[in-house]
Amino acid sequence: MNDATSVTTPGTQRPVAAKSGSSSGFPRKGRHGLARARRTRRWAIYLPLGLYLLFTLVPFYWMLLFAFRKTGSTSLVPWPGTLEHFATVWNGAGFAVFFKNSVIIAVLTLVLTTLFALLGGYAIARFTFRGKAAFLVMMLCTQFVPGAMMLIPLFDVFRATGLINSLWSIVVADTVFHLPLSLILMAGFIRNIPIELEEASWIDGYGRLRGFMAIGLPLLKPGIVAISSFAFIASWNNFLFALMFLNSQDQFTVPVGLSYMLGEYSVDFGALAAGGVVAVVPVVLVFAFVQKFLVQGLAAGAVKG
């Protein structure tokens, strides 16, 4: 796989890429002599890392290249660039509307998921009650239910409730799908806040709600940011539900718009690439914001084997 990327990399890469066809990617065994060991160590890091970065970044670059390059150009750098492809997708292909729909769906999903996860997570973390174990088992089981399997029965429910072809159908479906994991993660974050802090506020005459709002919520900020960002990204990326439950073009989301461009008989590749850039920008912004939590949050014990 790495061979493929290094061979096909457009010109400008460092010699590492050419030399490394047979690298196994594993850290080499330590040799005698400190300086030498350190040198091999550095190679053992930068070589596989460099190759992998090529594999990760070249596809992104390829999309940017076509999005900004003038039609008919064969240059490998998009310079001098053009914004004509963006004008085409944004106005001509209707991405202005798709983008707006996607934002509405993702933000509403984020709000609902985070709110329900906070309420339920607090119940799980701070109370014992009958049916708690059953509730948790139900939450875990739903993690195994595939989205594709829900297309048919959900279509029926949405038709009966009049939500079909409404953005709300996607909000509801996305929320239902992200809520279980969000709730379990949120319970973990809440449990990590010592209850003594809240109890101290009760002594001061605060109620449970006021105590939590004053003491717990500020401490919970990193967890809330992480969980709501995951909900946003997952909802932004959802394709199948939007494809199935929305059928008029003014309701389409960005992934559905992209899929229709992909299916066209003669694809305008510049516009397609520009559409891809439009789809990736919000996700990249949110991701840059949360990627630190990704590892920290998991390491903190939220998902422990």
């Binding site: 796989m1 493929a4 457009p10 990617g25 594993f26 065994k29 160590r41 890091i45 930068y46 596989p48 992998y52 970065l53 990760t56 992104f60 339920g120 607090y122 119940a123 109370f127 014992t128 708690k132 993690q143 239910v145 595939p146 594709a148 399997m149 297309l151 048919i152 029965p153 959900l154 279509f155 029926d156 429910v157 509801v172 239902v176 010592p194 003594e196 990204i233 990326n237 394709f239 199948l240 494809l243 992934p255 992209l258 899929s259 992909l262 694809v267 590749f269 397609l272 789809a279 996700v283 949110v286 991701f287 840059a288 990627q291 590892v295 998991l298 390491a299 014990g301 998902v303 084997g305």
Partner: protein, 313 residues
């Protein structure tokens, strides 16, 4: 009471025992989980129950005159459907190849980016970035690479590799590997993230004492790192296998199950039945089979991994 709470294990039943602050506290947790139970009940549990019901009916939205009770007709049709059996074979191939390759690359990558080096934070962010990319966008990106007019094929042909005007998506074997590569690009970060999180919880003391005993890098990997990662690897492979089984977006848009149904997974078949054919009855029967397969797989996998653990000293 507070001491009890603080010392309680984080798993499950840790809420304060002696808490009798107010009578109404007894009802508070139920009020808190009520919204969740309500939406999950109406939009997940009830629809799942409906699948069983639909699978016993002829049900096509576009042909309402032919709808009616079907008994086990849909299941009979399924067992006689060669596409169903082919999709099962392809689904297993797809899941196994993806999970194994993603695990290997993700493990190596996690070990590499767990070392300390200059530019580590940036390298991590870049390496993880495809994790956040959707299936449709992955298709968009890789289609630009595979397409004969915009892709790498033209440049490869300049070097005498392959020929002009071809795409790996045309032939079934190369289409499979083309899809595998695109999915790998998006999937490796998941393993890298989970394994890295677990790597960071290994105490450095273990490695130091192993070094004192004269253990080399490879030895340390096999005796310390891998056993420690055992649970994380079991969990992440299980989650990923289920995820790749369910993964429809990429194949739906990249190959559409083709060429000639050669890359049709079972969930993709279900999705095409639902979205394109609107055959809800037959689609529900296919859905039932997917539920059964997922349940059997998950239980078997967890059971096997538990047996493996008991064998270990």
């Amino acid at each position: 009471m507070t001491a009890l709470e603080a010392g309680a294990p984080p798993a499950g039943m840790s809420a304060p025992r002696g808490q009798r602050r107010r009578r109404r506290d007894r009802w508070t947790p139920y009020a808190l989980i009520a919204p969740t139970v309500l939406v999950m009940g109406v939009f997940l549990i009830y629809p799942i129950g409906n699948v069983v019901y639909f699978s016993l009916y002829h049900y096509n939205v576009t042909k309402p005159w032919a709808n009616g009770f079907a008994g086990l007709d849909n299941y009979r049709q399924m067992f006689a459907d060669p596409l169903f059996w082919n999709s099962l074979v392809f689904t297993s191939k797809w899941v196994v190849v993806e999970v194994v390759l993603q695990l290997i690359f993700g493990l190596v990558l996690a070990i590499v980016i767990n070392e300390s080096f200059v530019g580590r934070a940036l390298a991590r962010a870049l390496v993880f970035s495809p994790w956040a990319v959707s299936g449709v966008l992955t298709t968009t990106i890789w289609l630009l690479i595979y397409n004969p007019t915009t892709g790498f094929g033209r440049y490869l042909a300049d070097f005498g590799i392959g020929s002009y005007g071809t795409s790996p998506l045309i032939a079934s074997n190369s289409a499979f590997w083309a899809a595998v590569l695109a999915e790998l690009w998006r999937g490796v970060p998941f393993f890298a993230i989970l394994i890295l999180a677990d790597l960071q919880s290994i105490s450095g003391d273990l490695y130091e004492s192993a070094e004192v005993d004269g253990a080399g890098r490879i030895r340390k990997f096999w005796s310390i790192t891998l056993p420690h990662l055992r649970n994380a690897i079991i969990l992440s492979t299980l989650l990923r296998a289920v995820w790749e089984f369910n993964n429809v977006d990429l194949l739906y848009t990249l190959t559409g199950g083709g060429p000639g149904h050669s890359t049709m997974t079972l969930p993709l078949y279900v999705a095409r039945m639902a979205v394109d054919a609107k055959e809800f009855g037959y689609g529900s029967a296919l859905t039932m089979s997917a539920f059964v397969i997922l349940a059997v797989f998950s239980i078997t996998y967890l059971w096997l991994s538990r047996v493996g653990q008991e064998d270990k000293p």
